[in-house]
Amino acid sequence: MNIRQSLVRIVSAATLMITTAVAAQAADGPLVSTDWLTQNLKDPKVRVLEVSVVPGVYEKGHIPGAVNIVWHTDLVDKVQRDIVSKDGFEALTARAGINDDTTIVLYGDNNNWFAAWGAWILSYYGVDDVKILDGGRKKWEAEGRPLDTATPTPAAGTFKVKDTNPALRARLTDVLAVVEKQKDAQILDIRSPDEYSGKIFAPPNSQELAVRAGHVPGAVNVPWSKAVNEDGTFKSKDELKALYASVGVDGSKPVIVYCRIGERSAHTWFALSKILGYEVKQYDGSWTEYGNAVGVPIVNVAGTVWGGK
């Protein structure tokens, strides 16, 4: 055997060992890497779900075998202004082929914005093994990994909701209890600084508005996007810890996160609860409920209450 052949064999053996190690490595954390997913795509116990903000993104190419979850029809009950009902959720898990022992990997566009929201809803309905593909579509595409356009039709899933997890969800009364000092928790507003201060009511082109601009009294502000790196991955555990500690959110008290319509904040909920292990509730009523509610106090440092000065 000449040197070149030996080298090739050594390199092949090393590659094989590394890939086997990656594949075998149980994804025990809340995040899976693009490598891990590539190795485990064929695993019948792994179900990949795409939740993208922009319609049509999934159809033009998705991770092979991924099932599409349409956020504005599959995950909400529009009439009730609520998350999807238990029956609707079970219909969704049946369609997506989710069983009790399924490992779910969610991903999406926009730095996994709505994938995290999907993770919150799955967790609320008691699905145990919920993970997010770190970096989402952005990283998967940047690495030139394969995409498929076929729409899979998995065998119907058998998952049934046993218990919901109300501890993951804050209602207006929970937020008011904190504002009125009846409960001790930290409130985290993940909108832009201009929304937080009340300079603007909502980002441009937003249809859903509140009658008042500003934020919940006592809330601190860390825009959701500060939790991600340029490649779409979540920042490291230490970086996240420091980021939130800089505004006093350190896990010593329960946290309530909110945004404008209650979806973006799920991204921060995921970072705080799943990655850092803090006790976190998502307030999905968010600013469009709080800012519109009668008889509740707000803070508006910009002086734009009721749209006037």
């Binding site: 319609p55 159809e59 729409t151 039709t153 082109n205 249809q207």
Partner: protein
């Protein structure tokens, strides 16, 4: 052909194509852009080239048919719809396997059918007669040195602003509860495609007797290479070939970028300018809930802007070697009618949520009834408009 195939013109065309390819390569590597933007530019360039080479101009082709100068060119539009519709059926049946769920396929140009759509089609048709072309036609005619096209396109922007200002008024009463009919929801994909092809075949049979043979037979070229070069680069392509290529590009565009359309960027520019000037309030009720050539307040070039830019560059690459870039001064009144026609084009395209490309081509290919309604209204307006212009 004295002015065609000069080395300078060929070099200019090659440089343009090289610029498009280089631009696409850069876009493909640009963060937050990637391959959809690269394809938007390339598909736009291909479209502009084919539009120019085969004279894929809705108005000129329909006018020729109405005025007895031959129905062949209209067959190009029929071919585009047949090829595009077939491709769309393949994509849609993959993306939305069950069309009867009450959902619409993503992004497809399936619009509400209401009296507003009829009025918009009529306005657009009259705008074509007045200005001498539709919006995509004016865009590619820039490359032929049309001095009316810039006036028509400026009018289009004004028309869009007028459309935006009328939107809230008509939306609540006429559009908000209008049906959004999509044929596969009731006929399935096979039935819808079968119906589309049957209608197009019937149209083709009606049009065939009126096809005029090309009387200008090409002179025998010095060599087979020269003959090929002249057929591709100089002489007008057979309309059906051009139309078939437009159909293929429409399917590629729907697959990679978005359905073909040429007004989203123009409309967005108009909307942004009007919003910056304080002529519009920030919201147009319900407008952003419809698929179509959607407009938004933007401050960056969208993929549709790249497609439109590519279209103009591609048309230049087609016109220059053929010696068809020939600017001519027109009398001032003619610029006035181009501007007025442009206003009607923009007004119609805004209220119809697109133009001959976005609503008619992409809509009919997507089996939307809105595409046919717009087409019929536009045809009626062209017919009436032609009678009217002959009288004056």
């Amino acid at each position: 052909m004295t002015r065609s195939l000069t080395p300078a013109a060929l070099t200019a065309a090659l440089l343009l194509l090289a610029a498009v390819v280089a631009g696409a390569a850069v876009l493909g590597e640009t963060p937050d852009r990637g391959s959809p933007s690269a394809y938007a530019l390339l598909i736009g360039a291909g479209l502009g080239y084919v539009f120019q080479r085969s004279r894929f101009c809705f108005y000129c082709n329909i006018r020729d048919a109405f005025e007895g100068r031959g129905t062949g060119p209209v067959l190009g539009i029929v071919a585009a719809l047949a090829v595009g519709g077939t491709g769309y059926a393949v994509l849609m049946s993959t993306w939305l396997p069950n069309p009867r769920l009450g959902l619409l396929p993503p992004e497809a140009h399936i619009g509400p059918v209401s009296p507003v759509l009829v009025a918009a089609g009529l306005a657009f048709g009259f705008g074509m007669v007045l200005s001498g072309s539709c919006i995509s036609g004016h865009l590619y005619r820039l490359a032929e040195g049309s001095t009316r096209a810039p006036f028509a396109l400026a009018g289009t922007v004004i028309g869009f602003v007028l459309g935006f200002q009328s939107w809230d008024l008509v939306y609540l009463d006429l559009i908000s509860e209008a049906p959004v009919p999509w044929l596969p929801a009731s006929l399935g994909y096979g039935g819808s495609l079968g119906l589309l092809l049957a209608v197009l075949a019937a149209l083709a049979l009606v049009l065939l007797p009126g096809v005029k043979r090309d009387s200008a037979a090409p002179a025998a070229a010095a060599s087979p290479y020269r003959a090929l070069a002249e057929a591709v680069l100089v002489r007008r392509w057979p309309p059906v070939a051009g139309g078939a290529i437009v159909g293929v590009l429409a399917v590629l565009s729907y697959f990679k970028v978005q359905p073909l359309g040429v007004t989203a960027e123009i409309g967005s520019l108009a909307r942004t300018a009007a919003a910056d000037l304080g002529w519009l309030n920030g919201r147009l009720i319900g407008l952003d809930t419809f698929a179509g050539c959607a407009t938004q307040v933007i401050h960056a070039i969208s993929d549709n802007g790249l497609l439109v830019g590519g279209l103009v560059l591609g048309a230049f690459a087609g016109a220059l070697p053929a010696g068809q870039f020939q600017p001519r001064r027109q009398p001032w009144p003619s610029y006035g009618t181009a501007l007025a026609g442009g206003v009607l084009l923009g007004f119609g395209a805004m209220l119809a949520l697109g133009c001959t490309v976005g609503v008619l081509l992409s809509g009919i290919m997507a089996f939307a009834l809105s595409g046919w309604v717009f087409a019929l209204a536009m045809l009626a307006a062209i017919r009436i408009g032609l009678i009217f212009t002959r009288k004056f």
